[in-house]
């Protein structure tokens, strides 16, 4: 469904502090994939997600969606089929508006917004039902301003908003990193549920190796802007944390050896 071909992104290009964030990434995402993306800091995980979402256009290479090159498509155009949940729980909802107003905004994803009333009476039941599924009591707080909700509640709401109109791709960028352990677990359970129920193609960035192994059908590890591990299917199902770490160091050593050889050779 999504194809990245030699996708490249620099930061501060042509400057003294130029950084190669993504180095010619080749990646194919199939419909129904649930890909966990891990890697050390600065590996390029968030950059990859932002590249998919359209925050920037690639410096080199292509991104294809259903065969079409969408590299120059601005963020809001890609948002028609991409849903996002951010690391910052406050970033996915509008604090100044109410719960139902937020959901109403989400329900019009990709559609023309005109002069019809924003929050429609007939939608309220749908909102209530979906909120009930979250199990946070938000179904009784439709008229409350989102700014009054806790971080965890807002993140749950963001998840709901990103999926109320099922997107073709769901991007989760360390969406539990800023939450306390209990809430993080709740959100992860919610994540699993929503993705399973709606069969969403998902890319999830996480720092947590255990979660990465447990969730999804595919695991990708980034390092210095390159994909160094891509484990799927049976191999992933039987993967353990220790094995993952070992394979990482293995690759690392190979890489380091290469560079040492180049330096010393």
């Amino acid at each position: 469904m999504i194809q990245l071909k030699q996708f490249t992104k620099y930061f501060h290009r042509d400057g003294v502090d130029q950084v190669l964030a993504l180095d010619g990434i080749d990646l194919g995402v199939q419909k129904g994939d649930f890909i966990s993306i891990i890697g050390s800091n600065g590996a390029g995980k968030s950059t990859l997600l932002n590249g998919l979402a359209g925050t920037y256009a690639p410096d080199d290479g292509q991104i294809l969606f259903g065969g079409k090159d969408i590299g120059q498509w601005p963020e809001h155009r890609r948002a028609t089929f991409i849903g996002r949940v951010f690391q910052d729980p406050l970033m996915g909802t509008c604090g100044a508006l109410t719960v139902e107003q937020n959901l109403a905004l989400a329900k019009r994803r990709g559609k023309r917004r005109g002069f019809a009333l924003g929050v429609k009476k007939e939608d309220r039941q749908l909102f209530e039902d979906r909120l009930k599924e979250l199990g946070l009591g938000l179904e009784n707080r439709l008229g409350d301003r989102v700014g009054l909700l806790s971080g965890g509640q807002r993140q749950a709401l963001t998840m709901l908003m990103a999926t109320v109109i099922p997107p073709q791709v769901l991007l989760l960028d360390e969406h539990t990193a800023a939450l306390d352990p209990k809430t993080a677990r709740q959100i992860l359970d919610l994540t699993r549920k929503i993705i399973d129920d709606r069969h969403l193609t998902t890319l999830m960035v996480t720092h947590n190796m255990r979660i990465a192994i447990q969730m999804g059908n595919r695991l990708i590890m980034l390092h210095h802007g390159k994909i160094i591990l891509d484990i799927k299917g049976e191999e992933k199902r039987s993967l353990t944390q220790e094995e993952l770490v070992a394979r990482f160091y293995d690759r690392q050593k190979k890489e380091d050896m290469l560079t040492d050889r180049m330096l010393l050779g």
């Binding site: 909802t93 019009r108 009333l117």
Partner: protein
Amino acid sequence: MTWYAIIGALEQGLVYGIMVLGVYLTFRVLDFPDLTVDGSLPLGAAVSAVAITKGVDPFASILLAACAGFAAGMVTALLNTKLKILHLLASILTMIALYSINIRIMDGPNVSLLGASTVLDPFMAAGTAGYVVAPVMYGLLAVLITGGIVWFLHTELGQAMLATGDNPQMIRSLGVNTHHIIIIGVGLSNALVAVSGALVAQNQGASDVNMGIGTIIAGLASVILGETVFGSTGVTRTCIAVLLGSVLYRLAIAMALGLKLGNFAVTPSDLNLITALLVVLALMAPGIKRKFGGRAK
């Protein structure tokens, strides 16, 4: 302070109240500080005055003024979204350019409307005194326009506009082109300000190129005063609050002008200082409320 002075302040508060709604739209809803208003108020006045002297119906001239204001707002928004110029700077650029444009429109710095037909004529002909008709007429218009804005902000487009000002990243990830929203919003805001300018010109009998100086200050002071005194929970309440804030602001100014402490009398040149003090007081008020509210417990 005489009864007439109070009516006068009420009248001014209502007629400028439409401008204040425009300032609310950019400053609060879109989080876009917009100084274009110092230029679009006289723009509306100029367009309306010139149209009237050329025989256009006064009500139609107000629509023309609105279109001109919308165009001015669009220019500022385009400078900001397409050319990536900082919003404050973009609005200043448009404001400066409008000074020259307004003189061109009026073919001079001033167009007199004394004796020309205005929107008040149909009512004056009915025999009612002008100083009663004016506030009633402007009050009706202000209420209508406020109602229109409140309705608009509850539509899908309006909600997207509120979201753009509060969290542009979020609304973009829901598929909204925030550039378009800003263009529409800043355009609409300046259309309102231009309408206000057209009414002011018809009210005071002339359109003058310098009549816009200080508009943004009066607008901001009115918005802040209104929100502090009348509350700002929810869009409907806030819109009404800023309109009332405009009236309150003009009343405060009128009172200050009539104030005499012994030999010291407040003169109009002190107005800027008074406005600044008003705004500071209004901004301090929540803090004071909290401090004394807490003690009372």
